[in-house]
């Protein structure tokens, strides 16, 4: 493709990377495994010393642990800690996927709606299953706000149901769209650099401008990568809190 260099969509194409026997490993699945390997390296290899005074890698693991643990405790209470491994896995998976995707020539796992939607569906199904198992039909109190006049109640219940149903969509689309848009923007500005370098005389003056923009955007995308992972984790906690304490 002639426009390969500046085609901002090309980076999202899923292509076979290699084959392991009959199994086709695509770039997406490859980077999922890479993400898994990085997280395992930090959390398992890094903590294998069990040092009282932690080294760098162990500190990283401990910081991640305490950060997610305080998020879960703050949003879902002590009871929410039974979901801590789930929230931690989600947070680390999204965070490392986002960060790895920022490295040029890598693939961003979370830039595919099916991945983010599957994660969101996992969260919502956990909320539903736990909510019904724990509270039975009292879980439906979640949709009935207390202290509201009976005339307004049907309307409010409808609004609550709609907001609940839209949760998996908003949760998945938010992450997906952030990653997609960020990477497209980066690619577009990166493409401008390449295009302006071909303008001859003006290249020296013009090409650095989108390059500076790319640098600034990369910093922004780093922030977004962390922020979106945090948002995903904290919303998971908030939804799980609804499953734990449905009456509000």
């Amino acid at each position: 493709m002639a426009a390969n260099g500046i085609d901002p969509i090309h980076q999202f194409i899923i292509a076979p990377a290699f084959h392991v026997g009959p199994i086709e490993v695509t770039n997406s699945s490859l980077f999922m495994v890479v993400v898994l390997a990085i997280i395992s390296f930090i959390m398992i290899v890094g903590t294998s010393q069990r040092a009282l005074v932690p080294g760098r890698l162990q500190s990283l693991g401990e910081v991640a642990y305490e950060f997610v643990a305080s998020t879960v405790r703050g949003s879902a209470g002590q009871e929410g800690m039974k979901f801590f491994p789930l929230v931690f896995s989600l947070f680390m998976f999204v965070l490392i996927s986002n960060l790895v995707g920022l490295i040029p020539y890598t693939f961003t796992v979370t830039s595919h709606i099916i991945v983010t939607f599957a994660l969101a569906a996992l969260v919502i199904s956990t909320v539903l299953i736990y909510g019904f198992v724990r509270h039975g039909f009292h879980f439906l109190n979640l949709f009935v706000p207390s202290g509201v006049s009976p005339f307004l109640l049907p309307l409010l219940v409808m609004i609550e149901v709609i907001s609940f149903v839209s949760r998996p969509i908003s949760l998945s689309v938010r992450l997906f769209a952030n990653m997609l848009a960020g990477h497209i923007t980066l690619k577009v500005f990166g493409g401008f650099v390449a295009m302006l370098l071909g303008t001859g005389t003006w290249a020296i003056i013009l090409a650095p401008l989108p390059f500076a923009m790319t640098v600034a955007l990369t910093a922004l995308e780093l922030l977004v990568a962390g922020l979106q992972a945090y948002v995903f984790a904290i919303l998971t906690c908030v939804y799980l809190n609804d499953a734990i304490h449905p009456g509000h």
Partner: protein, 181 residues
């Protein structure tokens, strides 16, 4: 495009202009989901079974170590406080004891001194009395000698003037008379 070429042209379109936007390409959903389930399942198992319990153990061990260290420090501090208190008490006791001994010694020495002084005073007084007696005796004896010398001198003087020795009794009486003035 002919009917017979439909398949090949559709494949061609898929890869070019009409290729779906990759994230919405449903043909990739299945494999991605399978891989995601496997990878996330393994991740969840590794985290929940190995990593998180281990980190929790590390943090707990650190908390325990910190608490025992703090408790130990507190205990040592208390011990130090007790030691200081007992030391100060011992010091105060020793001070008090030393003062008591000092006072006793002073009183005892004062008493001894007073006693000795009293004895000394008495001795001096006794000596003084005996000396006074001796002096008075000597004086009396000296006065006796002087009287006799005066009587003799008067007798001699009168004998020279008159040429005959006066009666002794008159001289003695005269000397006694002068001596009374």
């Amino acid at each position: 495009m002919t009917q017979s070429a439909t398949t090949s042209t559709e494949v061609g379109h898929d890869q070019h202009a009409k290729a779906p936007f990759p994230p919405f390409d449903s043909s990739t959903f299945g494999p991605q989901l399978i891989w995601l389930v496997i990878v996330f399942g393994v991740l969840y198992l590794l985290m929940s079974r190995i990593a998180l319990p281990r980190v929790a153990g590390i943090l707990e061990a650190r908390r325990l170590a910190r608490e025992t260290d703090l408790a130990e420090a507190e205990r040592l501090k208390n011990e130090t406080g007790i030691a200081i208190a007992s030391f100060e008490k011992a010091l105060a006791d020793a001070h008090a004891h030393a003062e008591e001994i000092g006072a006793q010694t002073r009183d005892r020495l004062n008493a001894q001194i007073m006693e000795k002084r009293k004895a000394f005073d008495e001795e001096i007084a006794a000596n003084l009395t005996s000396e006074e007696h001796t002096i008075a005796d000597s004086k009396a004896r000296a006065m006796e000698n002087v009287r006799e010398m005066a009587i003799e001198a008067a007798h001699d003087i009168v004998a020279r003037f008159t040429g005959k020795a006066p009666p002794k009794a008159a001289i003695v009486a005269a000397v006694e008379k002068i001596n009374h003035y």
